[in-house]
Point group: C2
Chain length 244, copies 2
């Protein structure tokens, strides 16, 4: 810590490079469950369970984004960030990201009411997602924004996913994949704004370090979500060992 106190501010490029490196090496695309998904090796039930469990994560997004809005004193920031809530909730009933995710669930043959009920969400998935909301609630605005930076890696992943699913799971109609398609452009815009914000506001090395730690914490949350799916539906009883 003493060393940290004495360290000077990283340059913008070095800071963004550090965030990108620490985030990308821990991003959930490296998770065994995710690798099985993109290589076409998940069964229909495994894929369904990912969609069902991940829906709980999706529903936490507007909640954590509203918490982020509540932490800002700046109308310009709030106006910009509000769009994320609108992206998920839509401008009208049945529109927006959450509705698209339910279309995905329908496209995979899931009972949409079952998905919406959260009844079958794995306990660990629920804990991870609730933990993310709590982390955002307890964090500074800067750390909360930094934790959103997993979106830096989302556009590439969404593009790969569209290709992988179209190739490996052709029984899922392309209409059902609208969410992934939509996220390519949005995540790119969102992460650009979030990077600008953290670069502008992390004005000491210590604050830069807190941003990095917040992003790492977020990658752990996404990673753990897949741990739970792996343990429950790929190798029950593995205790996550295969995911190390």
């Amino acid at each position: 810590m003493k060393d940290d106190q004495q360290r000077g501010l990283l340059s913008k490029d070095a800071f963004v490079e550090r965030l990108t490196r620490e985030g990308s090496t821990r991003y959930h695309d490296h998770h065994p469950f995710h690798k099985l998904m993109h290589s076409g090796n998940l069964t229909k039930i495994q894929l369904q369970q990912w969609v069902l469990n991940r829906y709980y994560y999706q529903t936490r997004i507007p909640i954590k984004d509203a918490l982020i809005v509540s932490k800002s004193e700046d109308p310009n920031f709030r106006r910009t960030w509000l769009r994320r809530i609108q992206d998920q909730d839509g401008q009208h009933e049945g529109h927006g990201g959450l509705a698209s995710w339910l279309e995905l669930a329908r496209g995979l043959g899931l009972d949409v009411e079952e998905v919406r009920s959260f009844r079958s969400v794995l306990p660990g998935v629920r804990l991870a997602c609730d933990g993310y909301v709590q982390f955002v609630r307890d964090s500074s605005l800067l750390e909360a924004v930094a934790s959103s930076l997993t979106e830096l890696f989302a556009p590439t992943l969404m593009a790969q996913r569209l290709e992988a699913w179209t190739h490996h799971y052709p029984w899922v109609s392309s209409d059902a994949l609208e969410y992934f398609q939509m996220r390519i452009a949005r995540a790119s815009l969102d992460s650009k704004q979030a990077v600008e914000f953290v670069v502008q506001h992390a004005l000491t090395y210590q604050l830069q370090e807190r941003c990095v730690q917040a992003l790492i914490r977020k990658t752990e949350i996404l990673w753990h979500l897949l741990d739970c799916l792996y343990m429950a539906y790929v190798e029950p009883g593995s205790g996550g060992k295969k995911t190390e």
Copy 2:
């Protein structure tokens, strides 16, 4: 409390009537400072100080509304409530309620940067406004929404204010009064939605009672804001005795 446990749910009409009665008798239009304002008996400095101090309250509105949005699991509710944040922050820089309030400050001859800085906000005003945000943060969604129901009385007050200010303080240009004008229609719509929500969700007498208490708590916050102004700028040293 035991009596309360045994009491049956009030009918919708009786509940709304109770909210209206408990709220209206405690609403800040009865406060001596407010009576001085609407009867044309505030000096320019006293009026300026009201606008300056009340701006701090105004800036808390989008923050508490974002907290309310974060408490909801319902995209429809969030979509509707989000409009309140947009009403204050505007769709573009320089638009919206907060910008209109700064126009009001400018119209009263205040230094807008001084107002924005919060430097001259009275400590008690700051405590009251921060207390409101904290109350919303700690409350259930139902209580937080109920606390917004002072808006039931806002349209009438805004209409009276426009008339009173135009008559008594003609040196304030009518352009500067846009905020009050805008609130007549918006507060009417907002309170209608909030009443519908509490009626729909307060499904036991105990929950109805919590709604009433939340509204009373909110009236106390608005009242105390005027106590502080009265003590500082009307009768220094009165310790609020005149306001009882």
